[in-house]
């Protein structure tokens, strides 16, 4: 425990308010009247950073992400996104913040009755983008994720991996400032998984802050990014060490 608080102190202090794009202070979350799933979470993610989010099944990865993409409110503590305390942000401003956040949901959350195209177009249409521009961008991106043949298919008829690619395309179509992905490569073969990870890295190089929740040890060792680890309702951060040009897991910072 002592070690953990030490880690948090460093984590909070090392990022100035200007650089911080996602911040949490003493955040706890619980569902209904149950016990807290996560307690005393402190973190400050820098603009343009790339993190993995790990932890056992049921550790609370999805719960933590859902506070970041403004779907859940923390039961206690302060959550700051883009420097704004979300508790004191009105509904319309929250909507505007969400437009700058791309999310790949663990369960995809596609609109089943709509086509792959319409699903990917959604974030653009919601901002009222011109339909010609929408068509151009969506078609291009669907080609890139190799779904150009399924463009008109309703989302409900797509395979798991196809749905996942639609979900990813939808998350990145609006060039978000924050990209949150919950198990984004769980249903695709390793070739496509690699290609998608490359996409996330590319976006990160262009300035997008990325957090990816994953169970895949392979992904973590292949891409040397720091790792947020959930354990015992708390959060620890690990930084990778690189030996002989290969990543060896990570050590506690």
């Amino acid at each position: 425990m002592l070690f953990k608080t030490e880690g948090e102190r460093i984590l909070i202090k090392s990022v100035s308010d200007m650089d911080m794009i996602i911040g949490m202070q003493n955040v706890g979350i619980r569902y209904g009247q149950g016990a807290e799933i996560l307690s005393d979470i402190n973190m400050a993610l820098k603009r343009g950073s790339f993190h993995f989010l790990t932890g056992k099944s049921g550790a609370g990865k999805t719960s933590l992400l859902s506070m970041m993409y403004l779907s859940q409110k923390a039961s206690r503590g302060i959550v700051k996104i883009f420097g704004r305390n979300v508790t004191y942000t009105d509904r319309d401003s929250l909507a505007l913040l969400r437009r700058k956040i791309g999310v790949v949901f663990q369960d995809f959350r596609l609109l089943d009755h709509m086509s792959a195209f319409d699903n990917v177009a959604l974030p653009l249409r919601v901002c009222g983008m011109d339909e010609r521009e929408v068509r151009k961008r969506v078609t291009e991106l669907l080609q890139w994720v190799e779904l150009d043949k399924k463009i008109k298919e309703p989302a409900s008829t797509l395979s798991g991996g196809e749905k996942q690619r639609v979900a990813i395309a939808r998350a990145v179509i609006n060039r978000p400032e924050i990209l949150l992905a919950d198990e984004p490569t769980g249903n695709v073969d390793s070739d496509i998984a690699y290609k998608l990870m490359k996409l996330f890295v590319e976006l990160n190089k262009l300035g997008t802050t990325v957090v990816i929740a994953t169970h895949s040890e392979k992904l973590i060792t292949d891409f040397p990014f720091p790792r947020l680890h959930l354990q015992n309702r708390g959060l620890k951060i690990y930084r990778p060490i690189i030996e002989d040009n290969t990543v060896k897991g990570g050590i506690h910072e």
């Binding site: 993409y69 403004l70 779907s71 859940q72 409110k73 509904r91 319309d92 909507a95 505007l96 913040l97 969400r98 437009r99 700058k100 956040i101 999310v103 959350r109 596609l110 609109l111 009755h113 709509m114 319409d118 177009a121 959604l122 974030p123 249409r125 919601v126 901002c127 009222g128 939808r170």
Partner: protein, 304 residues
């Protein structure tokens, strides 16, 4: 504002599958039907009252009935005395512009077609008449006037045709009030139905709406989709209602004109009235749209 409510085209919330759509159209159809029939009734009653006010009720005649008595001199004197008393009385009555007794000459002229030349009214037991002009735009309570007048001048009588009309106008007035209440109720019940159907639908499509929110949609974006759908349903329901209203109006006015030629044949609707009735679908469309829009805005506040 209404342009703002229906702009942007894509319909992500699958409202076309809602089972309440048929119910709402039937509801609006019935509402427009009730509204239209009541409105047509009110408008034609309005037109009737206007005609009566203008032509019939602008003037009034008071008669002083002669008493049949042996002493003709005394009788004539009494009638004339009561006549001038009545004129005085009427001139003081609020709303009366001028009461003038008809002279013998005028009476002679009135009676001439029946009695021929050379007859002097003063010799006959014919009633004396007083012509009463009513001030423009004033409503006179004729039954009250008649009552007070007879109390003062026992020989006087007010044309009972007019008293009857006066009562009819009062009846029409309360009918109009009743119609207003019906119209307000119809609108309220319809809006209520739209309110509850919209709320139910929001619950039903909770999942889709949450996704829209997570993609950065404002409440307005969702509300627009509901408003567009409600606009369509309200309009279609209104059209069906109108299709029922028009033949009903013709049937009713057809029946009415058979009753009593004199009065009820005035009930034809003017161009303006028809225009109002034909615009009912637009009206129902507007009410539905506004109700749905604000129901969504109001309900979504409870979502995160």
């Amino acid at each position: 504002m209404s342009k703002d409510i229906i702009s942007s085209r894509k319909q992500e919330v699958p409202l076309q599958d809602d089972s309440s759509n048929v119910f709402l159209q039937v509801m609006v159809c019935i509402a427009v039907f009730l509204f239209g029939v009541t409105l047509a009734g009110t408008l034609s009653v309005n037109a009737m009252i206007k005609t009566w006010n203008d032509s019939i009720l602008g003037a009034l005649t008071v008669q002083i009935m002669p008493v049949v008595e042996n002493n003709k001199e005394a009788m004539t004197a009494e009638v004339l005395r009561q006549q001038s008393k009545a004129v005085e009385f009427l001139n003081e009555w609020p709303g009366v512009e001028k009461a003038t007794p008809l002279s013998d000459k005028q009476l002679n002229r009135l009676l001439q077609p029946w009695l021929g030349d050379g007859v002097d009214v003063s010799d006959l037991p014919a009633p004396r008449l007083i012509d009463v002009k009513v001030k423009k735009g004033m409503h006179i309570n004729f039954s009250k006037l008649a009552e007070s007048l007879v109390k003062e001048i026992p020989l006087a009588s007010v044309d009972d045709h007019k008293i009857w009309l006066d009562k009819l106008i009062k009846f029409a007035d309360s009918l109009r009030l009743l119609a207003m209440v019906v119209l307000i109720l119809v609108v309220a019940v319809t809006s209520g139905a739209i309110f509850y159907c919209t709320q139910t639908s929001l619950g039903l499509h909770h999942h889709v709406i949450e996704i829209l929110h997570l993609m950065g949609a404002k409440d307005t974006y969702v509300a627009q989709q509901y408003a567009r759908k409600a606009c369509f349903l309200g309009f279609m329901g209104g059209i069906y209602g109108l299709i029922l209203v028009i033949p009903t109006i013709f049937v009713i006015s057809g029946l009415a004109s058979q009753i009593e030629g004199g009065i009820v044949s005035e009930t034809t609707l003017s161009m303006m009235d028809w225009l109002i009735i034909f615009s009912l679908p637009l009206f129902s469309c507007f009410i539905s749209m506004i109700t749905a829009y604000y129901t969504v805005k109001h309900t979504l506040i409870k979502f995160m």
